[in-house]
């Protein structure tokens, strides 16, 4: 993954999460992954198109998703209903959009696809021949893994 793309995603994730969930945020070590990976339970997915092809995946457990959606809505949600799902989707959209805006300022132009959300147990995601950058973020509601796989169009 192009070095210039890394910081905008990390910064955007921090800025937005700080804004919506408060200050208590820690970052785990960044790393690369290429094989298929298990998804924890709730995965919000935003596709990228333009000069690059790829996607950003926000992966968290159901408990974390519920806690984050509850915090953002100011009420306690007991199941991930339409409101909860819309909230998580919106969070993914906000972070990706801010990263893309930052990248636009650096001269890289991409477009976003509308976000989608996947929920379920024992899910696994496989992108053939794509290496993903994993940005683990720990908030007080739990852990969110931001999984960015972007490659240049050749």
């Amino acid at each position: 993954m192009r070095v210039e793309y890394i910081n905008p995603f990390v910064e955007a994730a921090f800025d937005i999460l700080k804004e919506v969930l408060g200050n208590d945020i820690q970052r785990g070590e960044l790393y690369l992954k290429s094989t298929s990976q298990a998804v924890q339970g709730v995965a919000a997915f935003v596709g990228l198109a333009g000069n690059v092809e790829g996607r950003v995946l926000f992966d968290m457990s159901m408990e974390t998703a519920l806690a984050i959606a509850s915090e953002m809505n100011g009420e306690t949600l007991t199941e991930l209903d339409d409101l909860g799902k819309a909230t998580i989707t919106e969070l993914a959209n906000m972070i990706t959009a801010q990263a893309v805006t930052k990248l636009h300022d650096l001269g890289f132009t991409f477009d976003l696809t509308p976000p989608a959300i996947f929920t379920g147990e024992n899910m696994e995601i496989t992108d053939n021949e794509v290496e993903a950058l994993i940005v683990p973020v720990i908030v007080k509601q739990g852990k969110i893994e931001i999984n960015v796989a972007v490659r240049e169009r050749t």
Binding site: R2, V3, I6, L32, S34, E131
Partner: protein
């Protein structure tokens, strides 16, 4: 008496029960091979296949099998086996395979018969069998004094095997490329500790250097085996300190750059592509970029540089230095930004720095030059093999591969160019 009958009966029962695997046997270049009968739909004789333009060399064409159009693959060409031209034969022998929802015809020298065996008699493949890469072999079995190699057709023709023709069979069979496990105990310790402390793997790639260095080391440290051993990362780095190529981790000196320059052949294609795996902080990459942009003024140049160390590579795209740290020959590519020197936009546009692990899929197209100095030795044994094969695949014919000066490719299908401090290879056309 009864006991004898019983035993004979049990033997018969055992034999009947045991045959649980049937295979179609055939010969390829004089050797016996077989395929699991469950994968075979039928056998057939055919001739005059319809040629498909621009297909891979081992695709003989398509064939109309009672209304089904199937592709025909010549196994002999696919595995680079000699074609036995027989005058008598007017048609080819075909095995029609039924694979995951589609049919495929393969041509072999001659189909023999169906042989039933016990699946427990199948033994795992050994690299010395056959001229076919071991990963395509399901196993080996002996029957009536003949040794049959059972081909794993799923892995040969499966979805992920579309690059079959580039898998260099000779790495496993013809050339003994081994992970060295030396007899001598001290040397064994050295290999072991180099791996532990510096992730340096002693294989045929660097064995010569390690042995020479060990002789030096003995002179340096004395005969006492306790003193000879590497006790820490520092010892191991000291041992390796002479391993690294000239100008590692800094810009190339003018002298070194001229040496490299002399290896580059004129290229009229208009595009030059290079790959610099393990670029670290990017000094080497910029040395290559400035060299190529001067040498090939008209060409459009692209360099893919990658490293899996995020800290090293993160500053590479916007490397800013004090002017005195840059070699003089780079002056014309430098602009001054906030009293620091940076490379101009033209050079920056040439290079694409990526945070990337080369053992993961490398998705860029073929390249003319690969500069991978002192990278391979720090990969595991099987990864080294895989990367050498990948270098071969990624280079255009005649392309240049530069590896560390103390490394040596243990395979002989490259043309070696040894030039003082440079170990380089050209891919044979």
């Amino acid at each position: 008496m009864n006991a004898v009958v019983d035993r004979a009966e049990t033997a018969v029962i055992e034999r009947v029960e045991n045959i649980d695997f049937k295979m179609v046997t055939f010969s390829l270049a004089g050797k016996d091979y077989s395929i699991d009968i469950m994968k075979v739909r039928e056998i057939s004789k055919a001739t005059r296949f319809t040629y498909v333009p621009n297909s891979l060399p081992y695709v003989r064409g398509v064939y109309n099998l009672r209304g089904d159009i199937i592709s025909i693959i010549d196994l002999r060409t696919m595995f680079n086996l000699p074609l036995v031209k027989s005058e008598k034969k007017s048609s080819d022998e075909l095995i029609i395979l039924r694979l995951d929802g589609y049919l495929l015809g393969v041509i072999v020298d001659s189909i023999e018969k169906v042989v039933g065996i016990s699946s427990s008699a199948i033994q795992p493949p050994h690299p010395i069998f056959g001229d076919i890469n071991i990963k395509f072999i399901q196993g080996v079995v002996e029957k009536d004094n003949k040794l049959y190699i059972i081909l794993d057709v799923e892995s040969i023709f499966g979805q992920n095997a579309d690059n079959v023709e580039v898998v260099p069979t000779q790495y496993t069979s013809k050339v003994a490329y081994t992970e060295n496990k030396p007899e001598e105990i001290n040397m064994g310790f050295i290999s072991e500790t180099l791996r532990t402390f510096s992730k340096f793997n002693v294989t045929d790639l660097n064995n010569k250097w390690v042995e020479n260095r060990f002789e030096e080391w003995k002179k340096l440290k004395g005969k006492n085996s306790e003193d000879l051993q590497l006790h820490s990362e520092r010892d191991s780095e000291e041992f390796l300190s002479r391993f690294y190529s000239t100008d590692t981790g800094r810009f190339w000196s003018e002298e070194y750059r001229n040496l490299i320059s002399s290896l580059l052949e004129n290229n009229s294609s208009g595009t030059i592509r290079a790959w610099n795996p393990g670029c670290g902080k990017g000094y080497e990459t910029y040395s290559i970029a400035t060299l190529l942009s001067e040498k090939f003024k008209e060409a459009s140049i692209k360099i893919w540089a990658n490293d899996k160390d995020l800290m090293s590579i993160s500053n590479a795209p916007n490397l800013a230095l004090d002017k005195q740290n840059l070699p003089k020959y780079m002056d014309k590519h430098i602009i001054s930004v906030n009293s620091k020197s940076q490379f101009n936009q033209k050079i920056k546009d040439i290079v694409l720095f990526e945070y990337h692990d080369i053992t993961h899929p490398n998705t860029f197209p073929t390249v003319d030059i690969i500069v991978a100095r002192d990278i391979l030795s720090f990969l595991g044994y099987s990864e080294q093999l895989r990367m050498i094969a990948e270098f071969q695949e990624k280079l255009v014919p005649g392309g240049l591969l530069i590896i560390g000066q103390n490394e040596e490719l243990p395979v002989n299908d490259w043309k070696k160019i040894k030039n003082n401090n440079i170990t380089a290879y050209r891919k044979i056309v």
